[in-house]
């Protein structure tokens, strides 16, 4: 088929891999911004969620935030980040994309960290307190490890969503792999659109598999089975982008 041979040619042409608009640089931009946004979002979402989960306050807020997050389309978040970024004097490109990705990653991580800590068996916590553990020791030694599977699953789900949505950054003049898709559309170049689609899809699947692997390595062995069932709920709590 002619179309497929054009696609193969695109990938075979070394010139398409190097330089500012090359596949390597676009992938690096995409992964870099996604990772940076995830890091910032984790720092914002996880500590307060751990604290609230530990004290048992703010449950209604935790549930509401994820429901609202699910109803607002990620496309709308990217679009709304643009006027916000410009009002803040941050301009086009990197900042609106970054703001949108952080906003997108917050709800699932916040809610699942909160729920993860809340769902730790109260008897286990009581036992820790009875042994003379301080509140901090209970949080770091009991609640955090026991909540880790749910938290890590949420990080994975949020990361896949962030990678997916970073594609839309091309609409607010940012780089990343979305450039191929958006530029391809505006130039009517189906080969470029297709190439972009394949690369983004691959990156999302690789992210999912990689973080799934990390999860399996990081979760305490005794918890793996018990939490397999709960994971389904975490994924269902997050929308696709």
């Amino acid at each position: 088929m002619e179309f497929l041979s054009e696609v193969v040619h695109f990938f075979a042409d070394g010139a398409n891999w190097v330089g500012n608009a090359g596949i390597l640089n676009r992938t690096l931009e995409h992964v870099g911004l996604s990772a940076f946004s995830m890091a910032v979002a984790s720092l914002i979402a996880i500590p307060p969620a751990l604290f609230l989960g530990h004290t048992g306050r703010g449950g209604f807020f935790a549930v509401s935030i994820v429901n609202i997050g699910r109803a607002v389309p990620s496309f709308a978040i990217v679009a709304l980040a643009l006027p916000v970024s410009i009002k803040l004097g941050l301009g086009l490109g990197f900042w609106p994309t970054f703001l949108a990705l952080v906003a997108l990653a917050l709800p699932p991580m916040f809610t699942n960290t909160y729920t993860g800590v809340r769902e730790v068996d109260r008897d286990t916590v009581e036992a820790g307190l009875g042994m003379g553990m301080t509140g901090w020791e209970v949080l770091s030694g009991i609640e955090l490890p026991l909540a880790s599977p749910v938290m890590l699953a949420a990080v994975r789900v949020a990361a896949v969503q962030v990678v997916a949505t970073a594609t839309l950054g091309a609409l607010v003049a940012w780089g990343g792999l979305g450039r191929y898709i958006i530029d391809g559309f505006s130039q009517g170049d189906n080969v470029e659109v297709f190439v972009g689609g394949v690369l983004v899809a691959l990156l999302a699947v690789v992210t999912q598999l990689f973080l799934g692997w990390v999860e399996r390595r990081a979760v305490p062995a005794g918890l793996r089975k018990a939490n397999a069932a709960r994971e389904g709920n975490v994924e269902a709590a997050v929308q696709v982008a």
């Binding site: 699910r70 389309p73 679009a79 997916a164 609409l171 979305g178 898709i181 999302a204 699947v205």
Partner: protein, 224 residues
């Protein structure tokens, strides 16, 4: 220049909204139709695949695996891969939208039916129920809360994803978001976003009411 234009304008220009009520209504209808087709076709496929998975247990893992990968692929990437084949068409949008409903729906249908109390099934079989009658009269009604929970998630997700289809020219309310971005006109972005959220909330509410009416024996307990 353009940025300055964006800085000076109010968040929503109500006169624009008032002038474009017809367009907004038309886009809302398109949004609903796209969502409705995706959910309808998705539900039919999911029921078929779920029945397969329930009857032949071994198929469940591959089914969730494949629909899981489909679910992982970003919508814009999937549309982009399909465009060279099916063009900038409703078909392209719907293939993607239907694809994303499958994992959620299948998982909830199977979980719902698996969750039916075995004692109830035993009793029905003891009373001479055939497999089909057991499914239709006992298992499906009892699984309905979980199934509807799945439909709720799928519908909210689909309504959000329809907006992305604006990039392939079939996006319902997403059209305003895209136009707003291209023209640096926040009113359009806000109208698209707010209407799409309102639609999601309204449909979700309808589904809650439907569940309430269909399962009078379950009260106050919602499973998600």
């Amino acid at each position: 220049m353009i940025l300055a234009q964006l800085e000076g304008q109010p968040l929503v220009r109500w006169d624009w909204v008032a002038d474009h009520l017809d367009d907004i209504w038309a886009a809302t209808k398109e949004h609903l139709v796209l969502t409705g087709i995706a959910l309808g076709v998705g539900l039919i496929l999911s029921v078929a695949l779920s029945l397969l998975a329930i009857r032949y247990r071994k198929t469940y893992t591959p089914i969730t695996w494949i629909t899981g990968i489909l679910y992982t692929i970003p919508s814009l990437a999937l549309f982009s891969i399909l465009v060279p084949i099916t063009g900038l068409s409703v078909l392209t949008a719907e293939i993607g939208l239907v694809g994303y409903t499958l994992l959620i729906l299948i998982r909830n249908i199977v979980a719902g039916i698996d969750g039916v109390d075995p004692a109830i099934k035993e009793a029905a079989i003891g009373m001479g129920y055939t497999r089909l009658r057991l499914l239709i009269q006992i298992e499906v009604p009892l699984a309905l809360p979980v199934i509807i929970a799945g439909i709720r998630i799928a519908s909210v997700t689909t309504i959000g994803l329809v907006t992305v289809a604006a990039l392939i020219g079939k996006g319902g309310l997403g059209f305003f978001i895209l136009q707003g971005l291209r023209r640096f006109f926040t009113t359009e972005i806000v109208v698209g976003a707010v209407m799409s959220v309102a639609l999601a909330v309204a449909i979700d509410l309808l589904l809650v009411l439907a569940q309430h009416a269909l399962t009078p024996w379950v009260r106050a307990k919602a499973t998600v």
